[in-house]
């Protein structure tokens, strides 16, 4: 290794330690007893690792985790399917002003949800879905439509017309072409959209805190409450942080390259 690359790798390694330090400190603290949290530095690993904080945090967050898992899974599936159809229609079928429609829809990716939450309470209450898993599923599916449509439109834009034209000549309609050709070919777009939606919906806080109460709250809100109330029990709080982060970290480590493609497609965090 020459001198220049030694400098580069040293810099990268020091920075990597600094980026990783908060994660490390969560991990070590989550495995320490109450006394050890106060007696030791947070970067030192526990001398007597205990699972008590993890079990305690899991007990407190169980219901929230189940809630999050339910509406996150359903809304991920529904918004991806709708995005697939819309992306196909806006890319391959097109109609008058379809580009304008797409542009107007794209604005929805960037809007601050603060600008819709107050009327959203009225709408979900009137529809009888306020404070329910169904309501959270519908809300997340709907606000996911712009970004999912974008992902699939980008994908289908790259798909050569010639692949579809052969079928068109044979007299196949749009629905047949979608079902037989576009849908099976678009599995990479489903993975990109799926991991992106799963992580963003799982990570959401605002809709959860405004539209749910008590036992219907998602894990993000339950954790935020836990952080706010038990000011002293840092090990339980860090254990809760670890548990709530785990599914997204797993997705990131296993399917990171698809998540990266989602981030690069002009995506933005809510």
């Amino acid at each position: 290794m020459n001198k220049a690359s030694l400098v580069v790798y040293t810099a990268l390694t020091i920075l990597a330690f600094m980026y990783f330090l908060p994660f490390w400190s969560v991990l070590t603290t989550a495995l320490k007893s109450d006394i050890e949290v106060r007696m030791t530095i947070p970067i030192v690993p526990p001398s007597n690792p205990t699972t008590t904080p993890l079990l305690k945090a899991f007990e407190l967050m169980k219901q929230g985790l189940v809630n999050s898992l339910l509406f996150t899974s359903f809304a991920t599936i529904f918004s991806s399917l709708i995005g697939s159809v819309n992306g196909f229609m806006l890319s391959k079928v097109k109609f008058k002003h379809s580009d304008t429609v797409f542009l107007a829809l794209s604005v929805g990716i960037f809007i601050p949800y603060h600008a819709v939450v107050i009327p959203l309470i009225t709408v979900t209450s009137k529809a009888g879905i306020y404070n329910s898993i169904l309501g959270m599923t519908i809300v997340h599916t709907t606000y996911g439509i712009p970004i999912c449509t974008l992902f699939f439109k980008n994908f289908f834009d790259e798909l050569p017309e010639s692949i579809l034209n052969a079928a068109r000549i044979d007299g196949a309609g749009d629905f047949t072409i979608y079902k037989r050709i576009a849908l099976p070919l678009s599995w990479p777009a489903f993975i990109i959209t799926g991991v992106f939606q799963f992580t963003s919906i799982w990570n959401d806080f605002l809709f959860g805190v405004v539209l749910t109460k008590g036992s219907n709250q998602p894990a993000s809100v339950v954790l935020a409450n836990l952080l706010g109330t038990t000011a002293a029990e840092w090990n339980v709080q860090m254990a809760g942080t670890f548990i709530y982060a785990l599914p997204v970290v797993a997705v990131y480590l296993l399917l990171g390259k698809y998540l990266i493609r989602g981030y690069l497609a002009g995506a933005i965090k809510g």
């Binding site: 990268l12 330090l21 994660f23 960037f110 601050p112 603060h114 606000y143 809760g240 981030y263 933005i268």
Partner: protein, 292 residues
């Protein structure tokens, strides 16, 4: 579309777009309308009251603090994230291969996580008595160098910004790295033949070509700097005092803690207007660029 225009796909498209547009534009319009009415708290009235709620914002001291703090995010968080992102991208690009992939995975991890998670991590990092940063400062420099990261109203906003740069610089480095990879190999080789040093290669040839990538990252960061909410809500809840209030947090507290919906609606409208005046020109610009 031909005679087969009312196929199931068209029905899904129309129904889903109608729903999405109602939830986006319909509710934004509804929220705006609410801000111009005489509603009191939870009681909705559609009798118009003009700009009363906006006048109220003008005389709300916390509104001014919040705007100033959003401006601080824009002036410190954006250049910080872009600068650090550029540094990381260049280092990663020089490293290349397996090193690049491994380190990129570490730097980008914070960005994939919920703001509730990262806020919780930093609440612990910044803890005055037991947190990592102060225990390290004490060990290295002595007790006198401890900083009250979240408890000192003159420091707390900088602590928030520092942690946000940590969370977003992996993302900006990812965007810039993609930009660096798009610079044609031939240009890089030509510069090398001309005897350019590595530093010159990046500062003279590569970084000047990253402008569109920097613009796209800038828009993402700008939108975030305007609508930042969950991270600050969990980390400081606007405190100490009102020193870390931002617009979205003020809106949330006025609307949902004090149940002043019309005022919350007005603050949300102001927030929306600011975001949209950044996003729409950018979207128009990039759609025009695509047509060329």
């Amino acid at each position: 579309m031909g005679s087969h225009s009312l196929n199931p796909l068209a029905i899904i498209l129309i129904a889903s777009l109608a729903t999405a547009f109602f939830f986006i534009y319909g509710l934004i319009g509804w929220n705006m309308l609410l801000s111009f009415t005489k509603s009191m708290g939870l009681i909705t009235s559609y009798e118009l009251a003009g700009l009363a709620q906006y006048v109220k914002a003008g005389s709300d001291a916390v509104f001014h603090v919040s705007l100033k703090n959003n401006l601080m995010l824009i002036t410190l968080f954006i250049p910080g994230s872009i600068g650090l992102g550029l540094l990381l991208a260049v280092l990663l690009d020089i490293a290349g291969g397996k090193g690049e992939a491994l380190y990129r995975t570490i730097y980008l991890l914070p960005f994939s996580l919920s703001f509730v998670i990262t806020a919780s991590m930093w609440a612990w990092m910044y803890n005055y008595s037991y947190g990592v940063i102060n225990t390290l400062l004490t060990a290295l420099l002595g007790r006198a160098f401890q900083i009250n990261w979240l408890g000192d109203p003159n420091v707390a906003l900088y602590s928030v910004i520092l942690a946000l740069i940590w969370q977003f610089s992996g993302y900006t480095s990812l965007v810039f790295l993609a930009g660096i990879k798009s610079v044609p190999e031939s240009q890089i080789n030509a510069a090398k033949i001309d005897g350019a040093s590595t530093l010159q290669l990046y500062t003279k040839i590569i970084i000047p070509q990253l402008k569109p990538w920097i613009l796209s990252a800038f828009v993402v960061l700008m939108v975030f700097a305007l609508k930042a909410f969950d991270f600050i809500y969990v980390l400081t809840n606007g405190g100490p005092g009102v020193s870390t209030y931002v617009l979205a947090l003020l809106m949330f507290r006025r609307a949902f803690f004090e149940t002043d919906f019309p005022y919350g609606a007005a603050l949300a409208t102001i927030l929306f207007t600011m975001v949209i005046s950044v996003v729409v020109p950018y979207l128009l610009l990039s759609s025009r660029r695509e047509e060329k």
